[in-house]
Symmetry: C2
Subunit: 513 residues, 2 copies
């Protein structure tokens, strides 16, 4: 039984495939002393759009450096769907001497194409592994399994990949039986950890005769992550007397734990739900790490996918008979409270004004303005917050605005407000995700006929003292402001202090002089 | 099948059984909407030494508050070894109306006493569960299993507790078979998560007919923690259509995750090693959360326990022919570098002085003092650091001092220094853990005959900007300074700035005038 560690390759999803040289050296130095057969260090690919770092492309000097640091076997992986057969010659053959194994990530639907790619790889003398995805769906969607005999002579390892992290030990046994009926190719297993089943699934696979298994240090890997290399080694050390150098192991675990405290990989409730129900974790990963959604919204979106869209009610379209020259958008930042008195004075001086609450957080401070129309943006689980802010919804004077149908994050409307809620017809000014507070608020301002949009409580964040999540939210909002400015120059301005770049600032106090 | 959530009881190990009222309310409100049968909210006990918080004692008003917040069944647990039978009347009977279940934590060695306690509990009409520990050792140490028929009529649930977190699904099946041979009492299972086997073990137990299982939100619990309630519910929701309110579940998970970011429960490499080898995690928990040991030292200590003490070499005793009036202890803080020039001038002016490096971190800055005897304290894996600091150990002039034999954290001595290393005979001035840098350094100063001990590089930490680990280290050092001052007044003083309370400070510059 062999172990393949793919920390750099699978962990790259969190770092855009860039790792600091000192960490890479710690990694190779430790691996050198551990009972690991293969190190998969990245992808190889011709140039793709967007920035992808050094272990996504593995240029020759990177492979050379890896070879200098270790004499373990080296592997890279290809995405079959992005890798034309003709690229083998151009992208792989020149670095053939560095590569002990080329793995191919295969969607079962493309099994025929994958075999053609394997044929080409073999013709150049590469050792080839297939990593075939979506193992939990093979019992329904496993037509390719009948084709497995065609892998003979082309594929050295046939990996079963638990893409969703939802496979149980019993499923492993069944799937292996199903595969073994067709072929005696050497088997591999790549497990994810959504349900914390990475270890038991892998040990079960080993018991059932699988010859190679994957793991990553601290489980670093896409979404919920993988079986932890340190857990596998510890279990094999205790149960099967595998010799493990725990000094080497701890050094590399401690190094990656520092990175983990920044990126926060590992399972959590949304990943558990996606795993348990075999829902793709790509979106979940984006929601969890890059966007500003609560677990509640994410779980709702996942439940929607699982059940169909019964939670996704079509609402009347938001259409206003009267239009408002000025629209004030109130964000969730403290400045909307700190300067509330001045802002209310300013509103009193406007002839044609409406308020759009991008977040309900500060809305209570504006409740007294009974004569000013007020609109509340309901994104994801914002309806729950609204209920908390206004404990007596019976007196609620505002109207609610929701994103255009269908809403990925569902439709939660406090029951008292069901007659007061509309959805936008469409988002016209930006391509940024329509289910965000700021996009919804600005589109509402447009639909209200605003010629001038004023923002308060868009404080932004101080550089340096900002989480990854806040940074993403901040960058997303800046993009939204820019998209709006592009179609309507000078029409958006903050009246309270802001750290947002590209957002013009004036002072609410100056306007009161 | 029933679920018992014991978040407050088992999580209390991390918070000293105090939880903020808002968190407790969030907890009860969520539990109310989840398919959980019992809530075990804490211990009941007569007063013990040291501070233990409200959910350790569960005074009546706490139970009353819980009853007001939920109509779920309430449980408390007793430690049989700390709970005399006579206390049932005094400690439990007065609050009988609040308690739907009394659990008893039982060491298999005390099974007879536990039965006597159960008899008393039953005589007062309590529903009783036994939580019998150390399940992984029952196959060797399971004499009590023959006594199981005696539980009839006394014990409502017989829980198997995977105390070390090292049990595998196959062990669950075997143990249940062993128990079922003797009794048909209703079974329970309490799993730990050291090897991330909490879920699969619990699901296996359920398949094998266990009637009640434990879990805690976010797995909060002693050491590596427990099966996560959210993971169990998600799996049962997906696989067995258990109805789960995911809004309620996410609200309580998010609330406890905030607490987790402070306390950091969950598994890690030391807990994995202790679990895989059935070693008690009590010490590991202390090492990980309260003391300043690297994973390396902890793993070494665990490996020592596993293998016997082959890593625990007896060294020649540290005895000095010459004595030194002044001993300078160099700590790891930046001040030992920032003021190094002044400190070296001061050393040059002393007639009788030796240097003790409590940490090797700053030692390189004092290497040039070839005429001053220098001693290096080797605690845990400090030998590895020493090797990094002095890359050419051949020229190394110092001597090494290790704690008295036997050393829990092992004996790592760089091979070049094996002839230059001694161990202390004993620690005479304090009861604080002998395997700490500061205790070792001060005892070395005593053994060197110092009448005056000077410290540099003991910077301490700024209040408010300090981790739990730094706070513990800091408090421990202050206790050590106090113990030393108590036996030798005015003999310890810092020559560089320090945040340590109770450590006198003078200025190295004043001494150079």
């Amino acid at each position: 039984m062999k172990i393949l560690d793919c920390t750099l390759r699978d962990g790259g999803y969190y770092t855009n495939w860039d790792f600091k040289p000192a960490l890479v050296e710690t990694y190779f130095r430790a691996m050198q002393q551990l009972p690991i057969e293969y190190l998969e260090i990245g992808y190889r690919s011709r140039e793709l759009a967007n920035y992808l770092g050094q272990y996504f492309y593995c240029p020759e000097y990177v492979l050379e450096n890896a070879r200098r640091l270790t004499d373990k076997k080296l592997a890279v992986i290809l995405n079959q769907k992005d890798f034309p057969v003709s690229d083998v010659k151009e992208v792989l053959v020149p670095v053939k001497d560095y590569l002990d194994l080329v793995r191919v990530a295969v969607n079962p639907d493309n099994f025929d194409e994958a075999l053609i790619l394997a044929t080409e790889l073999k013709s150049h003398g590469f050792k080839v592994a297939f990593n075939v995805m979506y193992m939990s769906s093979w019992s329904e969607n496993g037509a390719f399994i009948k084709e497995l005999p065609r892998t003979a002579g082309l594929v050295d390892y046939f990996y079963m990949v638990d893409s969703f992290g939802g496979v149980f030990p019993g499923d492993i046994k069944q799937t292996i039986k199903m595969v073994r009926n067709e072929t005696d190719v050497a088997l591999g297993f790549h497990g994810h950890n959504n349900l914390e089943l990475g270890l038991i699934n892998t040990l079960t696979a080993i018991e059932e005769g699988v010859e190679i298994v994957d793991a990553t240090i601290t489980g670093m890997g896409r979404g919920a992550g993988n079986l932890k290399t340190e857990l596998l080694l510890t279990a094999l050390n205790a149960k099967h007397e595998l010799d493990v150098n725990f000094n080497a192991l701890t050094s590399v675990v401690e190094a990656f734990e520092q990175l983990q405290s920044q990126h926060g990989w590992g399972t959590n409730l949304p990943y558990m739900v996606s795993g348990a129900n075999s829902l793709p974790q790509k979106d979940v990963m984006e929601w969890v790490t890059r966007r500003f959604y609560s677990f509640n919204s994410i779980i709702r979106a996942l439940q929607n996918r699982k059940k169909g869209s019964q939670d996704n009610e079509k609402l009347p379209i938001f259409e206003q008979s009267s239009s408002y020259q000025n629209v004030l958008i109130v964000g969730g930042g403290p400045n909307a409270v700190d300067h509330a008195e001045a802002i209310k004075h300013w509103i009193g001086k406007q002839e044609s004004v409406a308020i759009v609450h991008a977040s309900s957080k500060n809305a209570k401070h504006y409740e007294e303005l009974a004569d000013t129309p007020q609109f509340f943006c309901l994104v994801g689980s914002e309806g729950h917050r609204l209920e908390k802010v206004f404990d007596q919804m019976v007196d609620f004077k505002g109207q609610c605005i929701l994103p255009p149908y269908p809403r990925e994050m569902g439709t939660y409307i406090p029951s008292a407000l069901s007659g007061k809620s509309n959805e936008l017809k469409e988002v016209t000014f930006t391509k940024v995700n329509k289910d965000t507070h700021t996009v919804l608020a600005i589109q509402a301002a447009i639909d209200l006929g605003a010629t001038q949009v004023f923002m308060v409580g868009y404080d932004g964040y101080m550089e340096g003292n900002i989480s990854q999540q806040e940074k993403s939210l901040s960058e997303e909002n800046e993009l939204v402001f820019k998209d709006f400015s592009d179609i309507a120059e000078n029409s958006i301005v903050s009246l309270t202090p802001t750290n947002y770049k590209g957002l013009d600032v004036q002072s609410v106090y100056g306007k009161l002089v």
